[in-house]
Subunit: 231 residues, 2 copies
Amino acid sequence: MAGKKVLIIYAHQEPRSFNGSLKKVAVDELHKQGCTVTVSDLYAMDFEPRATRKDITGPLSNPKFFSYGVEAYEAFKKRSLTSDILDEQKKVQEADLVIFQFPLYWFSVPAILKGWMDRVLCQGFAFDIPGFYDSGFLKDKLALLSITTGGTAEMYAKTGVSGDFKYFLWPLQHGALHFCGFKVLAPQISFAPEFASEEERKAMVASWAQRLKTIWKEDPIPCTPSWYFGQ
Amino acid sequence: MAGKKVLIIYAHQEPRSFNGSLKKVAVDELHKQGCTVTVSDLYAMDFEPRATRKDITGPLSNPKFFSYGVEAYEAFKKRSLTSDILDEQKKVQEADLVIFQFPLYWFSVPAILKGWMDRVLCQGFAFDIPGFYDSGFLKDKLALLSITTGGTAEMYAKTGVSGDFKYFLWPLQHGALHFCGFKVLAPQISFAPEFASEEERKAMVASWAQRLKTIWKEDPIPCTPSWYFGQ
């Protein structure tokens, strides 16, 4: 939709990968709609995943006992977080929709993207206590996970060896995104592109592009355990 | 138990932290039993979390299209993985029990520990296709997550705002550890030490030390969705 701002957090090493294709069609389709699109290409940026003392540029609030959460919160308030974190926070702040494009590593995000979550979504910026879940600070924004898997859809069926794919979404969508207030759109899951034919891969890319045409009309998913676990 | 080998993967920045105390009592108690204990102190090692081209020291099997999973698998077979990965694999190979000691970040492990999982537990070393879940290559080993949380036990009750704590264990214990064949012992969860009194914190540390006294008699938990989701 014209005027909307989209941030794509992209975590794949190879530009010509299937993840790269999904990122590219998203950029193209959203541009076509008149959206402003920003991409954080984490590997190309060599994004730092480790949450350490280096993230705080000024003096520590307690130099004798380092608590990352406490220090990041204080540094956020004093604007003394390191610039790569501030840059990402600015991009998030401006976005109406944040799309995470990544291959599933161990039922979760690759470490480089986990580091983005650990460091960018700090207390004071994304949430406070109180000020989380429905009152998280990013509550006027949408988020969407676009994931490629190694395992097939059959493996990720409720009775499959890897269990329902919704099970692994819980920590990411509820524990991280919903905690920060994000309204979460249904995930886009491209199962096992490595085992698919060229034609099937093209169809998966096309269906993502097609979905994005009407993405602004979608309702968020319910943020309840029952969506995930059917209870 | 005398003669047993334990590897502790430890992910906290501050040696005097509560996580540091839990690590320390584990080392002390296991030494007392006559175990050999190795600690990978990930922040002190400045462990690399990013899965990149740099992990492969020799020529790539496909220099025109970088697939991390494929290249890591080939490099494992040719012994051309980078030395920090080989070092960790050697420690895992020798261990009877691997304990992961970390604070919960976004319902999961900190990025530095996620990177350890992404890079160390590669195909060929920890699993193959076929050769995963019950036939994963680490099937003669035990694993145990010792986790500290920010949220309270009430928040992590089934009807709490953060849902049952077992929900967030699924990707880690089933998707990563069980996939590699590990027999998973019950997690040690220390809820909200930051909000606890000094006395309560001491009791939590003591109960961990106490549990370790009989750890070798414990049976693994069942690796089924019903343990996690009660279905």
